[in-house]
Symmetry: C2
Subunit: 416 residues, 2 copies
Amino acid sequence: MAKTSILNIGDELLIGQVVNTNASEMAKMLNKAGFDVFKTTICADNAESIRTNLRNMMSEYDIVLITGGLGPTKDDITKKILAEEFDSVLIENAEVLAHVEQFFKNRQLPFTSTNREQALVPSKCRVIFNEVGTAPGMCFEKDGKIIISMPGVPFEMRFMMPKVIEILKQNFETDTIEHRTLLFSGIGESFLSDMLEEYEANLPSNISLAYLPKGGTVRLRLSVRGKNANAVIALADEYSTKLKSLTEKYFMGFDSDNLAETLGKQLIEHKASVATAESCTGGNIAHLITLVPGSSSYYKGSIVSYANEVKENVLHVRKEDIQNYGAVSEEVVRQMAKGAREVLNTDYAIATSGIAGPDGGNDKKPVGTVWIAVADKQNCIAEKFLFKTTRENFIERTSNQALLMCLQLLSQNSCE
Amino acid sequence: MAKTSILNIGDELLIGQVVNTNASEMAKMLNKAGFDVFKTTICADNAESIRTNLRNMMSEYDIVLITGGLGPTKDDITKKILAEEFDSVLIENAEVLAHVEQFFKNRQLPFTSTNREQALVPSKCRVIFNEVGTAPGMCFEKDGKIIISMPGVPFEMRFMMPKVIEILKQNFETDTIEHRTLLFSGIGESFLSDMLEEYEANLPSNISLAYLPKGGTVRLRLSVRGKNANAVIALADEYSTKLKSLTEKYFMGFDSDNLAETLGKQLIEHKASVATAESCTGGNIAHLITLVPGSSSYYKGSIVSYANEVKENVLHVRKEDIQNYGAVSEEVVRQMAKGAREVLNTDYAIATSGIAGPDGGNDKKPVGTVWIAVADKQNCIAEKFLFKTTRENFIERTSNQALLMCLQLLSQNSCE
């Protein structure tokens, strides 16, 4: 089986200015196509660093996929290093040149000598055409290994990856890999692990289980691999069903690592719609829900009521309750949920009101305090939490908890 | 100067299920404290892989920071490997044990033997106490190098990092590093680069410049380093002012890599408030704005009008215009912006309506079509874009473009 590695080049990644989403996106696509990623590395935009890491990866792995350092500016040196490493000179590629010229013409921009350099490629590479940008992809073969360089701009990489995987498939045999992710709430990682001790001990060697705790939930990912796709899928079905039956009490649903997607599936099953009223989460729950393709069939919208006057004027929360209990209170969050259901005319509604910080807390309600409510026609359930963490993580955890509470209300309703 | 490396351990990172935000967060904190990260690597949860990568990093770098694989379950083996590598046995730490017991007691959960194992630490390590979780941090010293292992759970890592940096500062001298980021729009990376050829050629060796194109904008990051903090700051001021004067026409503002933060600063300067009306961006603009601490002083809220009835009922968009022109049209997006300004009672408003895909497009309005409007009391500017990309990236690019248009309207108003 071909061992795959990823090398992401870029100073902006090493100072933490940009999160390296390329590695995870590439890994996901590769994994789906049956290629296992053994290692991903970020290195700096300098010759020595690129050269050393490339050589190390080539000595250990069959495939090295590289992103970054292909832009037109001085800090982009990947192409030069690759030409040196693969005994090439840089030559102008006519097809790439025509594309780059057209690219600038379409944008009504002048075509400079710096732009023209984008059409230079190492003589020993096979060009992978880049329809959506100016830097071409480059594929090298050496000693039975494949080395491919792509642009670091995420959406250019995304467009190029299917072609890259095609090339890899022509050169290497792959296994089928099938994942099943099960979502649990109300139980910790260690208790689940104790509960599944015997199950885990008896798993065949081509099946693995991983624990992924996140914001009050635990996910279990079951991965099955093998040559025969049908057999792999059958095994995944069998072992995930068994897993579910062992953990029924805490099982929230099969899930694609995405609570909003799981909620969406359940809403479609229930033929139900949902709306949100967000104060402290500031639109993030709406964002998570609408990231899911097709969410317009069950999601109507959100009132992000950051200011109290919006809570009053749009969600019809009573002014005196905000004055008496404060915006972060059970009374207000319940009225927000009910208001959202009515104003946006949905079956379910989710509401949040809390103190994300870093300022705004006091002794009685410290930073991290949050009330969450979920409502349907009959019920309105409100709960208070304290998430002492960063502002960003507070928003993330509150959003996940709110989606989870809505999921729980839905499963209650399906039990009745 | 101490060379720093980061090793993130976890199968979930290598199959792309989880984006490795730890590396960038750690790098950001390290960089601010004057530690340069030379390399970050993700490796699998298996003994050989952890051992090989750890040894390689220890041979090349002065500092190795490790996250992951410290949980209570079978797939967590980092602690065992570290004990082996540093000639240690695992011994129970009384202080950690007391903390872990209390941790479970607070949550009213039973304390199992699996949980108890969290209190085992390698005999030769110095424990870094973890107040917010059960897995302790561990610090090892060998041959003048520092190796520190932390939990992979992001918020636990975040709580532990200040202590880690304290330890590093006790062991290594650091430079001061100062960054200035300048935001540009209306010019491409290559044109900026041509414009700055002479400026770049004459930069002192302790100053570097990086180009960061993203969604229609380009950022230039100027980094200055040195021993003397005051001198470094003075140099950063001098060279960023010079840079600004050379590029005045396209300069949008100094920025902390964050358009929403830049917009927030400008709104505070203008003593102005803003609201959003989001269809295709589904709350993401609200989310970006409210991620910024203190945004409640200028942001009032959003109407996420995913359903047309919400556009009509809450934002007062004319039903006949939605019928005649469609929800994705100049007429509708203008009415959304005006509606948001009125309903949410703000100085400025931003509105989006588009087709995020993957479904919902047609010949006249393909997937990726989007109308964006920004309005103040006098003006309402609407523009159409076509972002042919993934759903997620479409949302990101539309959000950035909308924030940028609001920033442009604000700077127009300050020129008048």
